[in-house]
Symmetry: C2
Subunit: 486 residues, 2 copies
């Protein structure tokens, strides 16, 4: 290696070696933010969308192309999502050579499905062959069984085998999601061997952040981050720089668990192994980002009974998933009504009870929802386990007591002033009882569902609401009758 | 470079070159899953926690150390979170040399804050000096002003300057969160120059996935992923392999936006620039994973009025953030009560109205919450913008109509059977009206808050609930009176 080829240290600027500059002379950075097409939150501007729409309307394909051409593939995907259904097809037809695999991969599932359904199987197959396996699988798994077969029949044998082996794993598992392209090398190499090999081999995975070291059975024995390879002398053996302790992802692992592993251990990529421990793929963090965002955002939607809750979800599917929960809630609302009906005579005597009872139920419902949201997030992020359940229940009990007393004092005084002091005492007591019951239900219902191996985010809401409503009506009306008020 | 030093291609195993193996002989992978300390979801087992507790109870420091020593730092952080407050201090004291900066960095904010408050400023300063700047900032920003000053006074000048410059940026911006260690090189280098430099320089950033190429003003002009450097011949110029089009993060960018940028453009790391366009730091994806999970999970908590909603939040803070929303909801519940009170005479005449009115309000509330959760997620992920608002409103109107008619038929028939056909018609009509109003409120309220530059997740709930409750009572009781029923 020629000495004169080397760089003097002074030539290299590092973070802690600031450079003298005159800030007046500096241009704006050439970035993707605050350009003429994006607003300050990096969304495509309405005026930009309008210009695309106008060009589509005028059937001016060249104008459409010129307007869309500067966009990043992820922004073209956003643009397609923002347009109407018929505009999407026309846009795709106007910019065929910009409709890269990256655009397809970045599209919202529902929009992609809709666009693919409009294409012939041969056209879909052509797209599939351009995609990386993981993106191809994502596209194909959304199609119905017949379309899947029709498309796969048109795909080249090699790609078809890879896609079919991915489809053999259940949806949302590492085996489905993993990338089948990765770099694995045997244990006896030196750093120099590895670098030479990487330079010579033309057909490497597009994205890799670590090189997996495997034994003769193709089982991972260690991993080398690329920055260690770059900063280590050529003669050092890989086994001397590699990290032996690595996180291996079983191919059957669910994506939620996968996301938590990446987050917990700050992973950039990880080896996926089959049941016999052999390396079969890698998960890279760029794919996991979507998973983490999806899984974490899902709770808000599930808790509210909004199903997939995607604004691009077709009306029929949105109706189907939401109406089920409304019907379930209708059932639980009837429980509350039955309790009110039992106190019909009391309400006839004192109509103030009918006026005030929804307040008790409503605030209880809010208190229950607060606790439930906290518990569901804590369970989803593995923070609430058997080891600390009772400590958390005890904590929530004290919070509920504080909340209950505060609200009870407010509503009690107000009611005493407007109606009677006795009714003020009754509603205050009912409020304390209901907020405590709600707080307990908010933590215990999700915990019980978790122990029963059910997703607490899906089913807890209906039960917590039923408990808070019923207890609200029962405590208030029951106390009113018991105290001789009505 | 010696030819004989090279690796023959047959020596290297790639993904698509499977190795002959006999699966009977294979051992289990040496991973972190399914070991004796973790359950199938990678949570620490209750029995393991119990063994730690027992050893702490017995004041047997050696036993504690032996039990905890095999854990990954992120698992030690989990363990501390799962223990009681007094156990945490005792555990930390028993395993001082395992309490690495990685453990501190991985700790839940509230738990870290509590543990730091128990330490002297000198002890905290010692920990701060071991941490990377971004983790040190995270630790210090949670302390109160006096403690911050006391700790900073004990920290070495160089670290102090870095931390103070980070603290000068607002919380949750790139300037606070970024890592100040990164690798930047001038434009004239070749790939070989760069590799030699990286090998010689001992004091490089611990984590880097790309090398930033900067001009003489220290402004980024391009970026080289490490895998391109490794797969490119030495003689090639950096300017010929680098990607010129890169995503630059302004130091003032909010973390929510930052997370969306990483997700949208599938970034592993990105350059952070100051207002004059100079490179001042980098954000790496491992830190962004936490941000994405936090921001996406936050919506469920904010929508339910649970504030930070962390199970480790101290009781006083949890009470403070939650009771505010309960009081706000008390205010909105009073609006509903006022409407009921206006129809007091009707209820006295027909007590069935009091029995049924909560159903109309409750199902409307559910329908509104569903739509609101979908709209809030779509706004947070930049999917619902000015460009498609009316299309989404129109879609939600149709979903609401379908839901409304379905529920109206069910409740209408039931009410007709139990009470009177006329009351069945009244409740069915009221239900359709309320579900449509709720669906519209669910999408329009968050959209309006967004346009007013308010976080839709924070404030929408109270307003949507008020609208659905009031409209439920008003439509039902109003129609009952108008139809001459009461």
């Amino acid at each position: 290696m020629a000495e004169d080829n080397r760089l003097s240290e002074d030539d290299v600027m590092l973070a802690d070696a600031p450079v003298q500059t005159e800030s007046e002379e500096l241009a704006k950075p050439d970035d993707r933010i605050d350009d003429e097409r994006h607003d300050e939150e990096n969304r495509l501007k309405p005026e930009y969308i309008r210009s695309v729409r106008d060009a589509l309307e005028a059937r001016d394909n060249n104008a459409v192309y010129d307007i869309v051409e500067p966009l990043h593939p992820a922004d073209i995907a956003d643009l397609l999502e923002l347009l109407e259904r018929d505009e999407r097809a026309r846009l795709a037809a106007s910019i065929t050579d910009l409709m890269s695999s990256d655009v397809i991969a970045e599209l919202n599932d529902f929009v992609r499905e809709e666009m693919m359904e409009a294409l012939e199987p041969e056209a879909v197959a052509t797209i599939v062959e351009q995609l990386e396996t993981d993106d191809a699988v994502q596209l194909i798994e959304d199609l119905d069984e017949d379309d899947q077969q029709a498309v796969l029949a048109e795909v080249e044998a090699e790609d078809r085998v890879a896609i079919e082996s991915a489809l053999a794993y259940p949806e949302e598992t590492a085996g489905r999601l993993m990338n089948r392209e990765f770099v694995a090398v045997p244990e006896h190499l030196t750093v120099g061997d590895l670098i030479d090999y990487l330079r010579e081999e033309g057909d490497l995975a597009n994205e890799f952040y670590e090189v997996f070291v495997v034994d003769h059975m193709h089982r991972p024995v260690g991993t080398c981050a690329l920055n260690w390879i770059l900063t280590t002398p050529r003669a050092i053996k890989l086994t001397d720089v590699m990290k032996r302790d690595q996180t291996l992802i079983p191919a059957t692992m669910d994506q939620e668990e996968l996301g938590l592993m990446f987050e917990k251990y700050a992973l950039i990529s990880a080896a996926v192994v089959d049941e016999s421990g052999r390396l079969v793929g890698q998960m890279t963090v760029d794919d996991v980002l979507h998973i983490i965002a999806e899984e974490a955002g899902e709770d808000a939607l599930l808790l509210s009974g909004a199903g997939d809750g995607d604004i691009n979800e077709p009306i029929r599917e949105a109706y189907g998933s939401r109406v089920r929960w409304l019907i379930a809630n209708l059932g639980t609302a009837l429980v509350g009504s039955a309790i009110i009906a039992a106190f019909g005579a009391a309400i006839e005597k004192l109509v103030a009870l009918a006026v005030l009872m929804p307040i008790v139920a409503s605030i209880g419902g809010n208190a229950g929802t607060q606790t439930m949201a906290v518990a569901v997030r804590a369970i989803a992020t593995n923070q609430l386990t058997r080891a600390n359940t009772w400590r958390i229940v005890w904590k929530e009990l004290r919070v509920a007591l504080l909340n209950g007393v505060t609200i009870a004092v407010l509503i009690g005084i107000g009611t005493a002033a407007i109606f009677t002091p006795q009714l003020g005492v009754v509603i205050a007591l009912a409020m304390v009882i209901n907020i405590i019951v709600s707080g307990m239900a908010g933590v215990l219902v999700p915990v019980i569902f978790e122990r029963l191996k059910q997703d607490p985010a899906v089913a807890s809401s209906v039960f917590v609401t039923m408990i808070t409503d019923s207890m609200g009506f029962f405590a208030f009306l029951g106390l009113a009758v018991a105290s001789g008020l009505a």
